[in-house]
């Protein structure tokens, strides 16, 4: 372990960490927006459910290396758009499934009560179904975020990569183990921090789900 290298390159490590976070957050934000829209679309037209989930399932199974290789001729290397198109396509299956599962998990008697009380369809969705689905939706966000934090490292192959740059360009290509270790540890740490953060977020959003014990 070359501590002096780490000290000398603190700025570089910080920059790569920041790049990693940014690539992840953008991918999750866009992926969530698309998934949310698709979920609403499927709720309105249930026959669209099978084909949409089918397509997002196919996207999910494409090996990430193959996807980058396919996109580069169109979008070029060193282009964040290339990275994001690939990353976003991996989030959709996870997020969409969880949003749908969360909404489907709202019990029939809660829905019947909401209708009987005089909620409109939109009021019911926004004020009852989505809030009740939050734990399942956040569950999807956690899986997607941890997945994307890992996948961002692969974008080093097209000249980006966040902490992946340290692993591939510095560590692997120059046989410098310290850089590989720093990059890997950083990525793992980011995944853990993001996951804990989302758990906190869910807990703050759903005080009602915390107090299950008393009767």
């Amino acid at each position: 372990m070359d501590w002096a290298w780490i000290a000398r390159n603190a700025d570089e490590i910080a920059f790569r960490t920041w790049e990693h976070v940014l690539l992840t957050v953008i991918a999750i934000a866009i992926g969530f927006t698309i998934s949310f829209g698709l979920a609403l679309l499927i709720r309105g037209r249930p026959w669209l459910g099978a084909p949409i989930i089918g397509i997002s399932g196919i996207l999910y199974t494409i090996p990430s290396l193959a996807l980058f290789a396919f996109l580069v001729p169109f979008l070029g290397t060193h282009n964040p758009v290339t990275a994001e198109v690939a990353l976003v396509s991996y989030t959709i299956l996870i997020l969409l499934r969880n949003i749908l599962a969360g909404l489907d998990g709202v019990s029939a008697d809660v829905l019947e009560a909401a209708d009987g009380m005089g909620y409109t369809r939109w009021q019911r969705l926004w004020r009852v179904e989505l809030p009740v689905a939050v734990p399942v939706i956040v569950g999807g966000l956690r899986v997607a975020t941890v997945t994307i934090v890992g996948l961002v490292t692969v974008t080093a192959l097209i000249g980006l990569g966040g902490l992946g740059y340290l692993i591939v360009d510095v560590g692997y290509r120059r046989f410098f183990l310290t850089a590989t270790l720093v990059g890997s540890a950083g990525a793992i740490l980011l995944a853990v921090v993001a996951d804990r953060g989302l758990v906190r977020l869910q807990s703050a959003l759903t005080p009602w789900a915390r107090s299950r014990t008393a009767r």
């Binding site: 009987g116 909620y119 009740v132």
Partner: protein, 391 residues
């Protein structure tokens, strides 16, 4: 709260035919429910009772015929607006798990856009009304409540915007029999104050007899078999179907028409722990009817029976001497439920208690038996079962 705030609900030749079904679910139903009364829709499964109820707030829309509330066709109003003006209580309650008890209760006022101060005041009033202290319950979540407490919040929520009409679909079906009895009594007491027009669905004839000012008995295919007061239905079933549905024990069921409060209660000899045994003996001797003293706590809540055997000698009586398990009944308990409670206990006396479990008096099996033997001939010469007001 104002009295008789209910509205007249009328079904006029209402038929519901589901697509693809041969038979009608509800067939040419015509009945009128007077303002402020409880009408129980009862019948076997598939009789269309729930469908009939849900047509009132348009969760289901009739194929033909019309339903009016105070003369106004429900189809004239928007479904959403209509539903905000009709209370709705279902068996599984359907409280919103993500909202506190207070927010659950405030749902309809919020939809109606009341200002927060008014909503807050109304919520507290309602929780008080259903017997849940606002201070203790307002901020709790449904997952922290017992089944009975949830059901009460469900009733409070339905009453929130003071709707003239309430629909209740097997509201006490999900709670155990003892708690159900309590909730029924509580609800009847509440109804005496709020006087809503209530359409109450159940499959349980005993519940129908107890809760209904009127009962509509439906049979398969959504055909109205009989619509009358419980007393009239028990006395004169309109058809063989009704007779079978009401059951062979019609005589016994007549006991459901009368309540504990209709009986003369016996004044108990109540004692507290620490009282002198000789003194208690003297008090028991003075009372001719009683062989047992009732041990109560400082709030006058019953703890158990004390018999002559426990009172031998002198010195203070200990709380441990009491035999626990005295069955308690409430003034609203039907004589039928009271009888079955008493028959199961060793001392055949029931302790009548109020809302706060405090002793009011005693009822004996004999008093209920006397009631059963009373003549059933009414003053107008017609057959009237026990416990109905004649004239």
């Amino acid at each position: 709260m104002q009295d008789a705030s209910g509205a007249v609900v009328a079904f006029e030749h209402v038929t519901k035919r589901y697509r693809g079904a041969d038979a009608a679910a509800v067939n040419d139903l015509t009945l009128e429910i007077p303002a402020g009364e409880i009408c129980v829709l009862v019948g076997p499964s598939g009789c269309g009772k729930t469908t009939s109820m849900k047509m009132v707030n348009r969760l289901i829309e009739p194929t033909s015929g019309r339903i009016t509330i105070d003369g106004r066709d429900v189809m004239e109003l928007g479904a959403v607006e209509l539903r905000r003006r009709i209370g709705y209580v279902i068996q599984q309650v359907g409280l919103f798990p993500h909202l506190t008890v207070g927010a659950n209760t405030a749902v309809v006022p919020s939809l109606l856009g009341w200002d927060p101060a008014r909503i807050r005041a109304r919520t507290d009033e309602l929780l008080e009304l259903v017997g849940l202290s606002p201070h203790d319950y307002r901020e709790r979540y449904p997952s922290e409540l017992s089944g009975g407490e949830r059901q009460r919040v469900g009733v409070a929520r339905a009453l929130a915007a003071d709707p003239p009409v309430m629909l209740m679909d097997e509201p006490f079906g999900a709670v155990d029999p003892i708690r159900r009895e309590r909730l029924q009594n509580e609800f009847l007491r509440l109804q005496e104050r709020v006087r809503k027009t209530i359409i109450f669905v159940t499959h349980d004839v005993d519940e129908a007899i107890k809760m209904g000012d009127r009962i509509a008995i439906l049979q398969r295919g959504g055909i109205l078999a009989q619509y009358d007061t419980p007393a009239a239905i028990l006395a004169n079933p309109a058809s063989e179907f009704v007779e079978r549905f009401v059951g062979a024990d019609r005589g016994l069921k007549r006991l459901s028409l009368a309540r504990v409060r209709d009986l003369e209660t016996i004044e108990p000899v109540t004692v507290r722990a620490g009282e002198d045994r000789a003194e208690i003996r003297r008090r028991l001797d003075r009372s001719e009817e009683l062989e047992y003293a009732l041990l109560v706590d400082d709030e006058r809540r019953p703890l158990g029976w004390i018999d002559q055997h426990d009172l031998a000698g002198s010195g203070p009586i200990l709380a441990e001497a009491a035999t626990p398990g005295a069955p308690t009944v409430q003034p609203e308990t039907t004589l039928r439920d009271a009888l079955s409670a008493l028959l199961g206990s060793s001392v055949q006396l029931g302790v009548v208690v109020d809302d706060h479990e405090r002793v009011i008096g005693l009822v004996s099996v004999d008093a209920i038996g006397d009631r059963l033997r009373e003549p059933v001939q009414g003053a107008d010469g017609e057959f009237h079962p026990v416990g109905t007001e004649v004239g």
